[in-house]
């Protein structure tokens, strides 16, 4: 011990600083090493294919921007989807996609907020138990769950049968292959993605703040509006962002549950690729990616990244 300290004491200051700097660099490299395996995997099997795919939007069938031209035309028909309307059908599909994602986000928020609130109010042990219920849907694939909705919503489905049996309806109602079915299925699948970030933030809210507000004269409604709600906003932002961006890319659920006119971009991309229109499919994918990025940046710019992904205590 003494020899070490005397050595350091004798070493010139500059050499000491260099040594500390080296130690710090080593420290940083440790974290890089921890990241390395996942990073290599992602770059090799995700980053490269995505980049290659997106490059095709400029390179197939020939180099240039011709793949983006259909998006800029005043009108173009997409007869395959029955969308021969007097406006650019591609833009229209982007519009439908945004609308569906937005409505799904709003409804998952309305449904998820009370659930997360309840989860965050009970004891942690009970919350863990209830959380399993929230997460059970994750144990089955999206495909199976979408088929399940088909069983429920079909002409011969349980809902129609029940309504006819009880005399509410005389003939089966069109439930499947409607926009409503798309919303229902997507809300069902995306709800946990709203609840989880909401719950995480709400758990972090110090209950003493709510007591303090009550002590200072706030009735329960004022405690919620003035204290709890503002402190839970980072969770609202994170949940909405997650659900909205996931919703933008939905494919199976709208394809199975939606009607002819409920076309989302990912379905369009799938259609182009299956017709071997790699270039145009890639162009659509690039636009979708840019849209998601733009929305992400808008959110974080408006709210601040640390508020979206930080805790309420910060």
């Amino acid at each position: 011990m003494t020899t070490v300290t005397s050595e350091i004491a004798q070493a010139p200051r500059a050499a000491q600083m260099a040594r500390f700097a080296r130690l710090r660099r080593l420290e940083q490299w440790r974290y890089v090493l921890l990241l390395l395996p996942a990073l290599v995997f992602l770059i090799a099997f995700y980053g490269y294919p995505v980049a290659a795919m997106l490059t095709r939007s400029f390179s197939e069938p020939g180099w240039g921007l011709q793949n983006f031209e259909p998006l800029l035309q005043a009108r173009s028909a997409l007869d395959a989807f029955g969308l021969s309307i007097p406006m650019n059908a591609y833009i229209r599909v982007f519009g439908i996609t945004l609308q569906i994602a937005l409505i799904v986000t709003v409804f998952t928020l309305l449904l998820g907020y009370p659930v997360a609130y309840a989860l965050s109010s009970v004891s942690p042990a009970r919350a863990n138990l209830l959380m399993i219920l929230v997460l059970i849907p994750f144990w089955t694939s999206i495909l199976v769950r979408s088929y399940a909705w088909m069983v429920l919503l079909g002409q011969e489905g349980i809902i129609n049968q029940a309504l006819i049996a009880t005399g509410v309806l005389a003939a089966p109602m069109q439930l499947l292959n409607t926009r409503l079915a798309v919303y229902t299925g997507m809300i069902h699948i995306l709800l946990p993605f709203m609840i989880l970030p909401l719950y995480a933030v709400m758990r972090g809210i110090d209950r003493n703040l709510l007591r303090a507000a009550g002590n200072l004269g706030a009735a329960p409604s004022a405690v919620f509006l003035r204290i709890f709600l503002p402190l839970s906003l980072p969770g609202v932002a994170a949940g909405c962002l997650l659900v909205f961006i996931l919703g933008l890319g939905f494919y199976i659920t709208p394809a199975l549950l939606g009607g002819q006119r409920d076309v989302m971009i990912s379905m369009l991309i799938q259609q182009q690729i299956s017709q071997l229109n790699w270039g145009f499919g890639a162009a659509l994918a690039l636009v979708l990616l840019l849209m998601a990025l733009a929305i992400y940046l808008l959110f974080t710019r408006l709210l601040g990244v640390e508020r979206v992904f930080g805790s309420a205590r910060a």
């Binding site: 110090d206 003493n208 703040l209 007591r211 303090a212 507000a213 009550g214 002590n215 200072l216 004269g217 706030a218 009735a219 329960p220 004022a222 003035r226 204290i227 503002p230 402190l231 309420a312 205590r313 910060a314």
Partner: protein
């Protein structure tokens, strides 16, 4: 409180009010099988500064929470100014509270935090601004309205919490270990400030701490809690000089304990027989019978070392032993003495010219006044 004092308040502003009387009447709080607060009765006078002192888990916070309305007693009733408050929801109780970690709203500025209770009382903007400014002056933070709590030091946050709890003129102020998170120097400074504030405002303060020194310095009265019960309640000097239980004697200050058996009661004193030490005497206490095992307790600073036999008064207990350890603590020396029968005694002797010093292994003769010890 005199008319004179009230006149000064009128001039200095609207902050400050006469304290309320608070009565805990046989309060009990159970959580399942855990009894957090057990048969607590307290009568707190208007304007009193009373401290609940006790170790962790002794029920101090639970007691405060029941008064604030966040916990409901399983038995008993609490009265504020003669009115039972069981049916009053927390937000109508008008009781100020400083939480252990201050519980300042992180998304509001200091000004907004302090305005909050006034907004809840539907006060006008002008009135709120005036009163906020005044209370910030009072706690020594003028001009801090625009800062967020996270931009303040611990001591400043504590002051804001006090300001927020006082701004709506509560007649009772509860403080749950308000200085627990601060360093020693700042604590001592703020102890005096809170004390001064109390004297200036006249509000009833119920203060919680597990720091006995803090309790002794600040309180008019201290209620010592242990396992949910009040072991003893009294003025600081009473608790220190006349502890009624072993727990109180250990928890407040340092104490020696000598195992003994009651020999006889002679009207004004109890004579006990301690193994190896012979007969010792203590002030009379009720509920004792001859032959009962007891403990005699005496404070280290009440014991003095004496030479041989010189002027030994009759009202003194005298024992002899051997010095086992000497520790120099600045203004005094602390001796550990081993007595016959292997009992130990700690005593403190002032470092003064003329006071004889002892070394380890020296034989020593010590005595203390009969009135300075207790049977517990």
């Amino acid at each position: 409180m005199t008319d004179m004092d009230q006149a000064t308040y009128a001039v200095s502003g609207a902050i400050g009010s006469l304290g309320a009387r608070v009565i805990f009447d046989r309060i009990e709080k159970r959580y399942g099988s855990v009894v957090a607060v057990d048969d607590v009765s307290l009568d707190i006078s208007p304007g009193e500064f009373i401290t609940l002192l006790g170790p962790s888990g002794s029920g101090k916070t639970t007691t405060l929470m029941m008064l604030a309305g966040f916990e409901i007693p399983t038995a008993g009733e609490i009265y504020v100014d003669e009115d039972p408050i069981a049916a009053v929801p927390p937000y109508r109780r008008n009781i100020g509270m400083v939480f252990q970690n201050y519980a300042l709203f992180p998304h509001m500025t200091v000004g907004e935090n302090i305005a909050f209770p006034l907004q809840m009382r539907k006060m006008s903007k002008a009135e709120i601004t005036r009163q906020s400014g005044e209370v910030l002056d009072l706690v020594g933070l003028p001009g801090y309205e625009g800062r967020y709590p996270r931009q303040l030091s611990g001591g400043q946050q504590q002051r804001v919490a006090v300001a927020r709890a006082l701004v709506f003129n509560p007649r009772v102020l509860l403080m749950d270990e308000p200085l627990g998170a601060l360093d020693k120097q700042l604590r001592e400074h703020l102890q005096l400030e809170i004390k001064a504030l109390h004297e200036q405002l006249g509000v009833t303060i119920i203060y919680v701490t597990h720091d006995q020194e803090e309790a002794l310095v600040m309180s008019d009265r201290i209620a010592v809690m242990n396992n949910g019960r009040i072991e003893q309640c009294g003025r600081p000097t009473e608790l220190y000089d006349e502890p009624s239980t072993r727990f109180v004697a250990t928890f407040i200050g340092e104490s020696n304990f000598i195992d003994a058996v009651v020999e006889r009661l002679d009207g004004t004193a109890v004579c006990v027989e301690a193994p190896g030490l012979g007969e010792l005497r203590a002030p009379m206490r009720s509920g004792l019978t001859a032959g009962a095992p007891v403990m005699l307790t005496v404070r280290p600073e009440k014991i003095v070392a004496v030479g041989d036999e010189n002027g030994m008064a009759a009202d003194m207990n005298v024992v002899t032993g051997t010095v086992d350890d000497v520790v120099f603590v600045g203004e005094m020396r602390r001796y550990v003495v081993v007595l016959p029968g292997a009992q130990r005694l700690v005593l403190k002797a002032q470092n003064r010219r003329g006071v004889q010093g002892f070394a380890r292994g020296d034989p020593i003769r010590v005595c203390w006044n009969v009135d300075d010890c207790r049977i517990v």
